[in-house]
């Protein structure tokens, strides 16, 4: 592991309450290149706590890139400049000594800021409650091998299901569109045989809630795929659009 120390300037978004006016506060830190960006914040907070100052509010949990809790815009990129990583996976060896780093919350109308770098992403839960499930009760399932599913289909469904629900796609989109997130969820079920009975009703209900929550529309710039920590493909958006169109033509309502 490296012995070197990086001297960095952090400019961090501070906002005491949802309605307060936010601002950037500057901090100087000296840190090992092997530390992660969240560990930098841990150290900074430890020092602030010692001084009796208000620590920087930010969220994280698994710190392995799978829970989707963390999410900070780092130098203009949700989750930072390295592709296919969540914020917690960003290590300081990717920065140069003397660099200035800007840390901001994910910004979108549908993701109000709660405090500093913490945002409210409950809109994502509401969309999933609208229809991201297969309706059946525990205990009624047939044997798991009863329906063979081709390996490629299962693999495609898993590609979509890998979404960690972090919201980077929304944060990076100039329209704050949630189409990649919703498309991934719709696709997972649309690809699998188990998801067929509710396929078209599901897409309609989820899209309706997505629109109500204040997310924008997709204008095909594909920034979402580029910034997605799991590399979720925009083909999922196309699949959702196709299913939505079919659903409008084939179902009542």
């Amino acid at each position: 592991m490296s012995e070197q120390t990086l001297n960095l300037t952090l400019k961090i978004w501070r906002q005491e309450t949802p309605s307060a006016k936010g601002y950037f506060e500057e901090f100087k830190v000296a840190i090992s290149p092997d530390a992660s960006i969240l560990e930098v914040l841990d150290i900074l907070n430890n020092d602030l706590e010692k001084e009796g100052k208000r620590p920087v509010a930010f969220e994280s949990d698994c710190r392995e890139g799978i829970c989707g809790t963390c999410g900070i815009v780092i130098n203009g990129h949700p989750h930072g400049p390295i592709p296919k990583q969540a914020t917690c996976q960003l290590h300081m060896r990717n920065f140069q000594d003397g660099e200035t780093i800007y840390l901001e919350p994910f910004r979108a109308k549908a993701f109000p800021i709660i405090k500093d770098l913490i945002i409210d992403r409950s809109a994502f839960d509401k969309i999933q409650q609208a229809g991201a499930f297969i309706s059946f009760n525990a205990g009624s399932a047939p044997d798991a091998n009863e329906i063979p599913i081709p390996k490629e289909v299962a693999s495609l469904a898993l590609d979509a299901a890998e979404c960690i629900g972090c919201g980077a796609c929304v944060a990076t989109c100039k329209n704050s569109s949630a189409m990649l997130f919703v498309g991934a969820k719709v696709s997972q079920f649309a690809l699998l045989p188990q998801g067929q009975p509710e396929r078209y009703q599901r897409v309609q209900e989820m899209v309706a809630v997505m629109d109500e929550a204040g997310f924008g529309s997709c204008t095909n710039t594909y920034a979402c795929e580029a910034e997605c920590p799991k590399g979720i493909s925009v083909t999922n958006i196309a699949r959702m659009n196709r299913d939505y169109l079919v659903s409008k033509m084939t179902t009542k309502s």
Binding site: M1, K53, R54, C62, F133, I147, G165, Q194
Partner: protein, 636 residues
């Protein structure tokens, strides 16, 4: 003294659960909606229980400190989930899964619970597939399996290295359906800080709203804790940053016995620690042990790079010592042996790390096949360490990962407080002194989908718990109790940040209550922990106020509980004068250095009853083995 009744039903082991399901009382469908049920935690156990109880028609309230129930730490489980499907025709059966689990736990689990776990394992896979969980498949479209430590059959179902994520999202999807139907109400960003007991029955909880700091009273005719394990007591563990023992510990302080706290699992395949700023340890799925070979140099202090150490100077110590299981020995055996070779100075370049080498697997099946199986784990390794594991062998070292101990429960998963149920990692029941890989996901979902729906109904019909008003004195007293403890923490106003005290607690525990323990070390640990507790209450520094979003305060409350639990872990380890599974006492080992059990004197569950801070009374539940013959675990 607590009366510990295991309530294991009579009859043949293989028929106990089936017969018992029939003999338990049912709640009439139209009456179910009259019952309000509280569930704390939304991981695999909590989410599956909430979804299933919602499906049955109960009025369910789910509490989680996360912003979304989908983020619970079950999501980070990588390797897989066991089931006795025998799809591979390789000799698996419910009986074999049961036997492997009870043996893997070093004969310190409850036989009937473990059998039931194996029995419902197959239903779990069916359930998850029906939910749309995209498990790995063979080209013919059937489900794929892989093998895991402690087993000689291939019974682990998986979804790349993200099985926990997929299973949790599956349970979350069923939960969402119940939210939409109005059967389940979610209370995110709430932390349970006390249990409310009315006339001897669990009747509610006090939560802190983490956004506003407001204390809230919630009533339930039963309270189900599915709040996970306590590995974060070690500060550095593979658990998520927020994983904690507070819900379970506060219930313990209200009278729930805490069982086998010294049974902790130190997982063998984690990334080695570096730097004192480190916030957590990262686990690499032990499925890697299927294809990776573990070795160190035969010489102490060997500073050569891996590629410069010739084959004959390498010690594949697990293959050498345990030829039958090789690199797939159970976790406790693999971890302890890594510790020993590092204690001998034979760790990688003198550090505390051993190699996990895929060179042979690359030769055997090619890099592409390995990438297909473990690609995301290899990427993760490279990302964290900056080294390419396709080029150089991985370095690994054990890290605290799972806790077999937890709140004591009977066969119904009910604690000794009537109406308080405990599911998943938070209880103690199924894994004995060591848990086998891919069994945690199995247990969480077994408890939630297939056990609690039956046993809860039986409690509600036999005990008929009434609804109570949250204006009652018991709720008021509990709320005051919590407010007082929060104010007490804020009032200390000392000099030491809470993480620094927590790190010091972690150091003591990993050193003296970790992979290898001795009476001397444990006594020292108890003294040190008591001192740290005094230091916490006289010198901790917490910023901010009680009535706002205050993460510093949240952590302080959890660490205050860890400082009590840590002592109990040492007390329990000191009491258990034997070695079993994850609990290894240096005084009790065979000539070959393997764990030496004392079945005559310690074949019991140690259920500790809280008296006051630093004082517990030991209650024993004898373990009776009717169907397995206690043997010395051998993986040679």
């Amino acid at each position: 003294m607590i009366k510990l009744e295991s309530k294991v039903p009579e009859g043949n082991l293989a028929e106990k659960w089936t017969n018992h399901k029939f003999s338990m009382k049912l709640v009439n469908p139209s009456n179910k909606r009259k019952f309000e049920i509280i569930i704390v935690g939304s991981g695999l156990a909590g989410a599956s229980a909430a979804a299933t109880l919602g499906e049955l028609g109960y009025k369910v309230k789910v509490f989680t400190y996360h912003d979304s129930s989908r983020r619970a730490h079950s999501i980070a489980a990588q390797g897989g989930i066991n089931a006795a499907k025998n799809y591979q025709n390789d000799g698996d059966s419910v009986h074999r899964l049961f036997y492997d689990t009870i043996k893997g736990g070093d004969f310190r689990g409850r036989e009937a619970n473990t059998w039931r776990l194996a029995e419902v394992s197959n239903n779990i896979i069916d359930q998850c597939v029906a939910q749309g969980v995209p498990f790995a498949r063979e080209y013919g479209g059937t489900l794929a399996n892989r093998s895991f430590g402690g087993a000689q059959v291939s019974r682990t179902f998986y979804a790349r290295g993200e099985t926990g994520q997929q299973l949790l999202l599956g349970a979350y999807s069923s939960l969402n359906r119940q939210v939409k139907l109005g059967n389940v109400t979610l209370f995110p960003r709430r932390e349970m800080l006390d249990l409310v007991v009315v006339d001897g029955q669990a009747k509610g909880i006090i939560t802190r709203n983490l956004l506003s700091g407001e204390m809230e009273r919630h009533m339930g005719q039963a309270v189900i804790l599915a709040s996970g394990g306590y590995s974060n007591v070690f500060f550095l563990s593979t658990n998520a940053m927020n994983s904690n023992s507070t819900a379970a510990w506060r219930a313990h302080k209200r009278g729930a016995a805490f069982a086998n706290p010294c049974y902790t699992q130190i997982h063998p395949t984690c990334l080695p620690a570096h730097g004192d700023y480190q916030s957590k340890l990262v686990l690499m799925s032990e499925s890697l042990r299927n294809d990776g070979r573990i070795w160190v140099s035969k010489k102490a202090g060997d500073m050569r790079a891996a590629k410069d150490i010739p084959e004959e100077e390498r010690d594949y110590y697990l293959e050498r010592k345990y030829p039958a299981f090789g690199n797939l020995v159970p976790r406790d055996v693999a971890s302890r042996n890594a510790k020993y070779v590092c204690d001998e100075g034979r760790g990688v370049k003198g550090t505390r790390a051993v190699y996990l080498d895929f060179a042979d697997a690359f030769k055997r099946v090619g890099k592409n096949a390995i990438q297909e199986k473990y690609g995301n784990l290899f990427d993760m390794y490279q990302n964290i360490t900056g080294k390419n594991p396709y080029e150089v062998p991985m370095r690994i070292y054990p890290a605290p990962h799972y806790t077999m101990g937890g709140l004591w429960v009977d066969y119904h998963l009910m604690s000794n407080i009537p109406g308080l149920f405990v599911l998943g990692e938070a209880n103690f029941s199924d894994h004995g002194a060591n848990r086998l890989g891919a069994s945690a996901l199995m247990q969480g979902l077994a408890d939630g989908y297939f056990i609690i729906p039956y046993t809860l109904g039986n409690y509600l019909t036999t005990e008929k718990p009434e609804k109570v008003d949250t204006d009652r004195s018991e709720f008021k007293e509990a709320e005051e109790n919590v407010k007082e403890s929060v104010n007490k923490i804020l009032a200390v106003n000392g000099n030491e940040p809470v993480d620094e005290i927590h790190k010091r607690l972690g150091h003591v525990l990993i050193d003296k209550v970790g992979m290898s323990r001795s009476a001397k070390g444990l006594n020292e640990a108890i003294e040190t922990i008591r001192g740290l507790r005094d230091e916490f209450w006289s010198n901790v520094k917490i910023t901010g106020k009680a009535d706002e979003l205050n993460q510093n305060l949240e952590r302080a409350g959890r660490v205050a509980d860890f400082l009590e639990l840590g002592e109990l872990m040492a007390v329990d380890a000191l009491n258990r004068n034997e070695s079993c599974g994850g609990h290894f006492r240096e005084e009790y080992q065979t000539e070959e250095g393997e764990a030496l059990r004392d079945d005559e004197n310690y074949s019991y569950v140690a259920a500790w009853e809280y008296k006051k801070a630093g004082e517990w009374e030991l209650n024993k539940e004898p373990l009776q083995f009717e169907y397995v013959k206690l043997s010395t675990r051998s993986y040679k």
